[in-house]
Amino acid sequence: MTTQSPAGTPASSSLHKAPHKLTGAIVRFAGDSGDGMQITGSQFTSTAALLGNDLATFPDFPAEIRAPAGTLYGVSGFQIHFASQDVFTPGDRPDVLVAMNPAALKVNLSALKPGGLLIMNSGAFNANNLKKAGYETNPIEDGSLGGYQVLSVDISRLTLLAVESAGLGTKEANRCKNFWTLGLMYWIYNRPLEPTLDWIEKKFGKTPDVALANSAALKAGHSYGETVEVSHERYEVGAATVAPGKYRNMSGNIATAWGLIAASELSGVPLVLGSYPITPASDVLHELSRHKNFGVSTVQAEDEISAICVAIGASYAGKLGITTTSGPGMALKTEGLGLAITTELPLVIVNIQRAGPSTGMPTKTEQADLLQAVYGRNGEAPVCVVAAATPGDCFYMAIEAARLALKYMTPVILLTDGYLGNGAEPWRIPDVSELAKFEVHRQTTPVEGFHPFMRDPETLARIWPIPGSPGLTHRIGGLEKDFDSGNISYSAKNHQKMSETRAAKIAGIARDIPDLQIEEGKDSGQLLVLGWGSPYGAIREAVRRSRARGLEVSHAHLRYMNPFPKNLQQLLSRFDRVLVPELNMGQLVKMLRSEFLIPAQSFAKIEGQPFTIDELEERIRQVLEA
């Protein structure tokens, strides 16, 4: 991304008089955990959404719950990328950085674009805070910020003045400075205050003085822009032409929870969630717990082993068992998953991946659990694995996971990650009638020649006899079972047959899933960038830009990791080279190489951070030049 304009991508090379038209801009708000940056960011987001911008956001919390004020590890950030054209990622480097204190500057400055706009709350740049942030001298004064457009304002003081009338204590009054800042940003990007003013009313209605103060701060920040105090350029980012429809902002974890609820509604099978809190998965548990009126039962289990066992018990009882977790929690589900596989019970395991190994970096994102999902159990234990590509996609892949689990009587692992789970995007609300219902056969009446491992000849799914039904009493368990009676069997030939049947059942799912489509570019050529999971947006944008540069590259994105879509091999064969970007050390690429014997190249990044579009574009160029 190259730009002359400090605050975004110019709509045309030649700059007009203010407000400058921009096709898009990337803004990052950074401050202390206590500074309310997440609120500021989400308000800026709602307004952008209402103005019809396409956008993507990325919140970045500190690992600590409430880190001491002013410390580097206490810095909280929120980045938004909004534009009048398609947006696929929150963007690499911000055009504008708002730093509410020295620590926020220290942590984020390196990200800011050269020549970018830097807004600082000079009021917070006192000796104490500078020391906590490890600054010898005050960067506002020592000239070290030469490379940027600097706008340094004593936001603290101006906020206190602005809210005086509301008569809050200094502590509360001080809290309003994020709205002052938001007001200034609204002026710079020429946005209306009303949506936020309304929100403040709703939110703080019960405490009128706080509401008053926040509104006052917002307006003050805005008029600060107006007034002579600063003669700064203004920018305008027009509406994007996105598919018409009703939209909402959607985070991956909420989308996952809602997708599961939708699956329950579409199948008529009630959900039972067994889960144990863990970052970044807890929000799915929280969200599902709020919807008991959908017949959703949620059990906060004593640990992850119990959580998956609760889900397994529920599935045996005829409900849809769900369990959600991450990292170490997934490791603990290994044995239970094996039981669900051999007893062939429907189950959805959601793994919101985080940086490992072991406890790793709980608040950072990673895609390093793919091989574990596919291979990580004792014995031959085949399981279906699907993965979501964007926050909103979590909704659809959660439905898909449930559909396959119920149709094939098998556990299905849904892989998302911290970036998807916490990240959000504008999401077109589907018309419920668009969502296909799916048939589920719960056996509740006697069957001719019944035994618990009778199978559907086509799907190979075993029968699902529901406890409580007369005529269907039976026993299942973790020991190998006889193919023809379901009784315990140690027979050699039978074990071979059952192992092959379990494998064939999962492999057969390939017939039931969509072919892999090309997301960007032609369906053959010099290079296919094959991704999976959260890098979707970055890859797509990078491929777009590369194509704009005339490179012959395409993008396809896997949502079905096991089994693969049946056209995958054929699609791969149409490209000279295949590049596989993953936030791990190369896992999908291993599967592709062993399955298809093609020299797929890995672009592995394991920094706990998403790919930047720049580094992907760069790698695409290298591969094509090689």
Partner: protein, 340 residues
């Protein structure tokens, strides 16, 4: 082919599966199985309304022999799976069979949480003080210094008492019986079945291959009268050939003591009367050191409270009454939205 039989017509046969029983000849498990299958018909619950869940171990083979729904799960996890089952369908009568290894070694945590949550499942722990299926290693209930394959110099662990442990976990129903005491065991099982909430029943079971005679000191015909204290709610805690011995409270030492009625002026009035609703008494009975004291058998503690599963279903009903049956369209369109 349906198996609904008028309850009063249910017989032992209705609870017997077609699988042949594969315990060692002479194993105490046979006696327990027989008593259970003889007792269930009296509960008025159809075989298809019952689920037997187990972990792994000789004892955990139990469900295969029951013509009911059954789940032979993984080692130690039966209480967790039973919890999911019961939450998913509170209509089912859910039983858990576990062993001293399955339930107290690997499965201790799930047992604790099942008990404290008060999930309405009936737990039977077959305690043979050994690992049977893996051919004879000591268990958490084996006595100190136990010589086994894994402890040739004797175990260095102090055992835990299942009943004392269950009480420490706030169990609402705690009982004890013996594999071969068919009548007594049947009564206890009926009490457990009738109790709403988690019930924990320890059954002393003889493993005649790897720990033969572990309980003979009170299980044997000749000694049982003197060594077994059969507690009954509201009845004095008497035992012995002629029920001449009894338990008395020593208030000073805050402990129990064995006294003989008729000896130095002791009358039945001095004997403690069993109150199964008193957790403190239950604890004292559970922790009586065997030898100086007899072993307490029967329902040591019973206190009904609303069960976890019933509270949860109550919440589901309540939230539907409050906000109405969930509506997907409403959900998707809730909160801040905008139209393009």
């Amino acid at each position: 082919m349906t198996d609904v039989i008028p309850s009063e017509k249910l017989t032992r046969k209705d609870f017997e599966s077609d699988q042949d029983v594969r315990w060692c000849p002479g194993c105490g498990d046979y006696a327990i199985l027989a008593t259970v299958q003889r007792t269930l018909p009296e509960l008025g619950v159809q075989p298809h309304q019952m689920v037997w869940v187990s972990g792994i171990g000789c004892s955990s083979r139990f469900p295969y022999y029951m013509n009911t729904y059954g789940f032979h799960t993984i080692h130690g996890r039966a209480p967790a799976i039973a919890t999911g089952l019961k939450v998913a369908n509170p209509e089912l009568q859910v039983w858990v069979v576990t062993g001293d290894g399955d339930g107290l070694s690997i499965g201790g945590n799930h047992l604790m949480h099942c008990l404290r949550r008060n999930v309405d499942v009936k737990i039977l722990m077959f305690n043979n003080r050994i690992y049977g299926l893996t051919k004879g290693q000591y268990s958490p209930t084996s006595e100190v210094g136990k010589i086994t394959k894994s402890t040739p110099l004797g175990s260095a662990d102090y055992p835990v008492d299942p009943v004392a442990f269950a009480l420490g976990c706030n169990a609402g129903f705690v009982a004890r019986s013996i594999d071969v005491e068919a009548k007594h065991l049947a009564q206890v099982i009926k009490r457990a079945a009738a109790h709403k909430g988690t019930t924990f029943t320890e059954i002393y079971q003889n493993c005649n291959v790897f720990n033969d005679g572990a309980f003979e000191m009170f299980r044997a015909r000749e000694v049982k009268a003197d060594k077994q204290l059969l507690v009954e709610h509201g009845k004095p805690l008497l035992f012995g050939e002629h029920r001449q011995k009894g338990l008395r409270l020593n208030p000073a030492r805050l402990s129990l003591e064995v006294v003989t009625v008729g000896e130095n002026g002791i009358t039945e009035n001095d004997i403690l009367v069993h109150d199964e609703t008193n957790p403190n008494l239950a604890l004292l009975l559970a922790r009586m050191p065997f030898g100086p004291f007899p072993v307490a058998l029967g329902v040591l503690y019973a206190h009904e409270q609303e069960s976890y599963d019933s509270r949860l279903s109550q919440q589901l009903r309540a939230s539907q009454e409050r906000s109405g049956r969930g509506d997907l369209k409403k959900l998707l369109n809730s909160g801040e939205t905008w139209t393009v």
